[in-house]
């Protein structure tokens, strides 16, 4: 690891004073489960690391009648065990899929959303777009994107909570660059598909940081997450899906269906949403929504199999949200 200066500020405004506006100079440290590994491999080499661990305001969960505000430094375990998570089954289920006590107690909500892609070309130092996408296309693409992969970005958004949070219309409270600057941003707008190595995969300037995640009250919406994994183990899922639905008189009147691990961003499937809205959730309609989601896939050489998994994940997340899915592996 390259030597760096460590700072542990006590307040949100002190954090901002310590962050540099220039890319690569400073890094924000949350639980460390991703950043420390990236620094060891010299994929990121900051001059200064700004820890959020001493900022008390970032560790709170506050709920009122309209929303729940979860601090970025709340650990995944704390969130899953907090009674508020009962209102958001998709979130609790996504955390429960993370099969490592260590990563659940050390990992934080903010860090989970801002973790860098697992793409092996990126992790091996070839950059996020590895030869403008050529490395992936000509190399090993089995875990890469099947949607939104026409440009140079072929990696997939690694977050396991983002699909659930996007399905639930979560917003981020982003602070900076200056001490009074505050942006409320829908999570779905936070992620982007970079077109050059200068762009990050999320819209956060180097001198901004995520302070809270705001979850609107579900108001009767049902939700669920479903992950397809290679086996019961600590690996990242191959494909995941989260659904949030509002059912009135037996029919879906509003839906959000979001796939994970399939595109450079969480992938909102308009096709699946159009297929399920106006219909009751049944094994047949859920399957049709899965088919619709998969119909626009553009798999690479080695990941055609993910298209089938995407269908299954969409179907099962919808059935699970409606209380019809028994689970299973």
């Amino acid at each position: 690891m390259k030597a760096f200066e460590y700072a542990a500020p006590r307040s949100e405004s002190e954090v901002l004073e310590l962050l540099s506006g220039e890319a690569g100079h400073t890094e924000v440290l949350a639980g460390g489960t991703d950043l420390v590994g990236l620094m060891k491999k010299m994929i990121v080499t900051p001059d200064r690391v700004v820890s959020l661990s001493r900022v008390a305001s970032l560790k709170k969960i506050e709920a009122d009648s309209t929303a729940v505000r979860v601090g970025a430094m709340v650990s995944l375990d704390e969130l899953a065990e907090n009674p508020v998570s009962e209102f958001y089954p998709a979130i609790r289920q996504a955390i429960d899929e993370i099969a490592s006590l260590q990563l659940r107690s050390q990992g934080t909500l903010g860090g989970e959303l801002c973790q860098r892609p697992r793409c092996w070309y990126f992790r091996d130092g070839h950059g996020l777009l590895a030869a403008r996408g050529k490395d992936v296309v000509e190399g090993d693409s089995r875990f890469h994107a099947i949607f939104g992969n026409a440009g140079p970005a072929k990696f997939v958004c690694p977050s396991r909570l983002a699909p659930a949070l996007v399905a639930l219309d979560a917003r981020l409270r982003i602070l900076g660059p200056h001490s009074n600057d505050e942006t409320l941003m829908p999570l779905e707008a936070f992620y982007r598909t970079p077109k050059s190595e200068r762009e990050r995969e999320f819209l956060l300037d180097p001198n901004q940081f995520v302070a809270q995640v705001i979850l609107p009250h579900p108001e009767g919406r049902l939700s669920a997450s479903y992950e397809v994994r290679h086996g019961a183990g600590p690996e990242y899922p191959l494909v995941s899906a989260a659904s949030s639905i509002l059912v009135e008189r037996g029919r879906v009147v509003e839906a959000r269906v979001v796939l994970g691990q399939v595109a450079p961003t969480p992938w909102i499937s308009r096709e699946a949403i159009d297929a399920i809205v106006g219909r009751p959730v049944t094994p047949e309609t859920a399957e049709a929504a899965g088919e619709a989601a998969a119909s626009v896939a553009t798999p690479l050489r080695d990941n055609e199999y993910k298209v089938r998994l995407a269908k299954v994940a969409v179907k099962r997340s919808l059935l699970k949200a409606a209380g019809l899915e028994t689970g299973g592996f």
Binding site: Y6, T33, V36, K40, S100, L101, S105
Partner: protein, 180 residues
């Protein structure tokens, strides 16, 4: 020479201060600065769990914790699991049931198992396999580890029941306190 930071912690119940560089992991400091070599370095990137310690009671991969972040924290390493010369039930069961071969993963398994059993003393086989998925063993095939953890949970629960029928302050009560 990089600047060093002074860090004050409590390790296995004893106040402990050390100087470290910001880039040193807690695992490095435990092993190299403090000569506490019970915590093992396996993958050094958070996959294998051999370096697991309890940080304020929570299991963490110490290879992914910057040592400077441990300021003010209470750390329990595998060296602090036994009660002086009396092995913890988890350690005893690992021994009796031969739940190890080369032993490199064992400290991490014991610390994680303690965190698991402190939360849930009677986990099912499925729960144990799931919760210990952050610890890898390349020798045993896991079956003996799972059985040892399950049996240790039963022993801890039995000890807790035994302790609750004795008066406060008895040795059994104190052991139970330390085990939870």
């Amino acid at each position: 020479m990089a600047k060093k930071t002074h860090v004050a912690t409590t390790i296995n119940g004893e106040p402990m201060e050390f100087l470290c560089e910001a880039r040193q992991s807690l695992l490095e400091v435990l092993r190299d600065n403090l000569a506490m070599t019970g915590s093992k370095e396996g993958c050094n990137n958070g996959n294998c769990g051999a370096c697991t310690v309890l940080l304020d009671g929570q299991p963490v991969d110490s290879c992914l914790v910057l040592a400077v972040e441990a300021e003010g924290a209470e750390i329990t390493t595998v060296e602090g699991i036994a009660d002086d010369s009396r092995l913890h039930p988890i350690q005893q069961c690992f021994l009796e049931e031969a739940a190890l071969q080369c032993g490199v993963c064992t400290p991490g398994f014991i610390v994680t198992a303690k965190a698991l059993l402190d939360r849930n003393p009677t986990p099912s086989e499925h729960e144990i396999r799931f919760q210990l998925a952050g610890n890898l063993c390349r020798c045993t095939g896991y079956d003996k580890i799972i059985r040892a953890v399950q049996d240790a949970g039963k022993r801890m629960a039995a000890e807790a029941r035994g302790a609750s029928t004795t008066t406060n302050g008895s040795p059994a009560r104190q052991q139970q306190k330390q085990a939870t």
